[in-house]
């Protein structure tokens, strides 16, 4: 058992070393994000301006959010990533397990400048995104307003797109069943609440078309496969830029943040802090939200945005009115159990 651990560590270590030969000393600051349209927006708002300001190159790497790589780097003490964008679940778990540096706020900024959800022990919010109810404006005559409408297949006939998994769908089901956003996690924390959510999902089950990747809902809506779908707000806006006429219902949306973290033992920690400080300052945050409709985490950036941009952001005062913040704590405790129950439920 010990021998394997040593052996595997050696094998992994040498593999990583081979990949990043000589990169560990005096290498450029390496920023890791999710790529795609989001990566492009970050390039314009954060990377290029900071490169100009510092006079140094920044290496940008795209990944899929899998923390297995970060874990391997930290465990073999060969960290080649410096500032990494992670999702809420990964942030909490990785922080508990020592994958990330604890942030030194003196080097980042004043905690009160940020929306409260953005301030965490190991991470600071990068932007706010949201899972919303989306529909095709061309195919629906009357506009839906809530998850109760989403469940109402009599009034709004047609298939419904939902992400294949328990996360968010249970929350949506409870809201459709009349639970107020602020009480959702209270109800869901009880076994009876979970049963209630699954029962509500079962009602809609024959009409659900499951999706897997974020690119699918706009495509399914545009192709007429579904009349309404849960979707990531950024994807809907991107589809509309390409000429679609998809609409978003902001009422009862579930919003969440992506965070910046520094992998534990990064040799470029100071530079990474500089990058994070820059990327969360009001100016670049406002530029970013103009590029892609994800909301700023810096309170002062919201004031810099015009009405038109604000209309598409998850945390603008108007859109955030009746929204629910996804609970990391709840999903860390119950995620695996509920995902497995979801799998069993979907087979029945």
């Amino acid at each position: 058992m010990k021998t394997c651990k040593v052996f595997c560590a050696l094998a992994l270590g040498s593999a990583i070393m081979a990949l990043g030969t000589g990169a560990s000393y005096a290498r450029d600051l390496t920023v890791v994000n999710f790529g795609g349209a989001n990566g492009d927006a970050q390039n314009v708002a954060f990377i290029k301006p900071l490169e100009k300001k510092m006079g140094k190159n920044i290496l940008v790497v795209a990944y899929n959010g899998e923390q297995a790589k970060v874990k391997a780097m930290v465990e073999t003490h060969n960290v080649v990533w410096d500032a990494v964008e992670v999702e809420t679940g990964e942030l909490g778990r990785g922080c508990d397990e020592g994958l990330y540096e604890k942030l030194d706020w003196a080097h980042i900024g004043k905690k009160t400048d940020f929306i409260p959800e953005a301030v965490r022990q190991c991470g600071i919010g990068a932007f706010v995104w949201s899972t919303v109810l989306a529909y095709n404006g061309k195919s629906l005559k009357t506009a839906p307003h809530s998850w109760a409408d989403f469940w109402n297949v009599k009034k709004f006939p047609g298939k419904r797109g939902m992400r294949k998994g328990a996360r968010y769908n249970l929350e949506f089901a409870l809201m459709a069943d009349g639970v107020a956003p602020k009480d959702v996690y209270k109800v869901l924390s009880t076994p009876a609440g979970v049963d209630r959510a699954f029962k509500k999902l079962t009602e809609l089950k024959p009409d659900i078309q499951w999706w897997e990747a974020g690119a699918q809902p706009p495509q399914m809506l545009a192709a007429g496969d579904v009349t309404m779908s849960t979707a990531y707000n950024g994807r809907i806006s991107a589809a509309n830029k390409d000429g679609q006429s998809l609409k978003i219902v902001w009422n009862q949306n579930i919003y969440d943040l992506d965070y910046w973290v520094i992998p534990a033992g990064s040799p470029n920690k100071a530079l990474a802090e500089k990058f994070i400080k820059f990327a969360t300052s009001p100016g670049p945050q406002a530029v970013y939200s103009q590029q892609i409709p994800y909301g700023p985490v810096n309170k002062h950036a919201i004031g810099k945005l015009d009405k038109k941009t604000l209309a598409d952001l998850p945390n603008s005062p108007e859109n955030g009115k009746n929204a629910l913040l996804s609970s990391y704590e709840f999903w860390a405790d119950h995620g695996e159990e509920l995902e497995q129950r979801f799998t069993a439920w979907s087979t029945q």
């Binding site: 297995a68 508990d96 020592g98 192709a223 995620g335 695996e336």
Partner: protein, 424 residues
Amino acid sequence: MTVTIPEHNTHAIKLAMRRAERKRKWRAFLLVAPLAVFLLIIFVIPIGALLERAVDNPEVIDNLPHTLVALKSWDGKTTPDPAAFAALDSDLKKVSGTSSAGTLARRLNYEIPGYRSLLFKTMRHLARPAPNDQADGNPPASGEAAIKDRFMQIDKRWAEPRFWHAIVKNDSAYSSYYLLASMDLKRNMNGDIVHVPAGASAFRDIYGRTFVISIVVTLLTLILAYPLAYWISRLPKRRANLVMICILIPFWTSILVRIAAWIVLLQRQGLINKALMDLGVTGSPLALLFNRTGVYIAMTHILLPFMLLPIYSVMQSVPNTYQRAAISLGSHPFSAFWRVYVPQTFPGIGAGTLLVFIIAVGYYITPALLGGASDQMISYYVAYFTNQTINWGMASALGFILLLGTLLLYSLYRRLSGRELGLG
């Protein structure tokens, strides 16, 4: 005339022969050494590590040693003695704030959902001075009873035996937890193996589904590939090459591109549905996507070359004179084909079937993108546990059972066909 070889000479010859023999052995060994090392590194060690991960259980014994000792004398039915609380207190204080806290909390959360936050809440509170003592200015109360009271103040759940039972259960460095969970089983409070509550997990169904999809896809590819291979093997060389290229170009195309192409073809307003409706075959669009049909169509298409190539290579080496001989001796053409030709292609069929089946068993991206929620195969969950939840114990256990099932089917195949695996 006889030649006598002096005694010392035979000895020298023997020695020389032995030396030559040894040299040859070394050379042979050196020739296979790269392969042996390669196999060791990419096959034996990873599979060994996988098996080890599936039973490895270090979190509790490494981090709660005192608690485990203190719980040795516990009856398992009531709240443990204050001594156990004191031991847990000292263990948690050591773990608190380190990365072990996360792994310990995660491991215990597998036993009882919610344990994770209970543990973190407790550690957070323990790090601060006790609230009561501050209020009246007395020195902090000590003693095991006070520690127990403190735990109770932090969370009432510490009075429940099941939370302590989750610790006692893991007093060994190896555990069958992950393997049992992959078969929808668990150990109850008495240590007996029981089913998880109905509807809590469905790995057995998923294994069944994985094997059913793989078998159906294997049969479909066989039905399509055999006549195709037969036809190509009868074509003149140049035309056969042309057809082969048509088969190989999609084979070399990225799998994601092919899946995306199938989405375009199969969707409700897609080419196939439009064509069928225009031809009047069906009135409303057929559901070809996000269900089992879509998975079968795309997987059969993707795996067809793996069936076709071995069968084709065997067919090329079968002389058609045998079939002609059978016909000239009075056999019906079909009977000549079935009884004389087909048996000669069995090695190709065997190789193709095994190849397709084994590749199909590990499929995950095709069902993920083209299937519905009840068409996901087991690899989907292996990937989920590896990447999403980083529960590598569970991922290894699921992979291990898949490996076991595949080996069982392979041995069944060997017994039925009486042959070893050969590629054509």
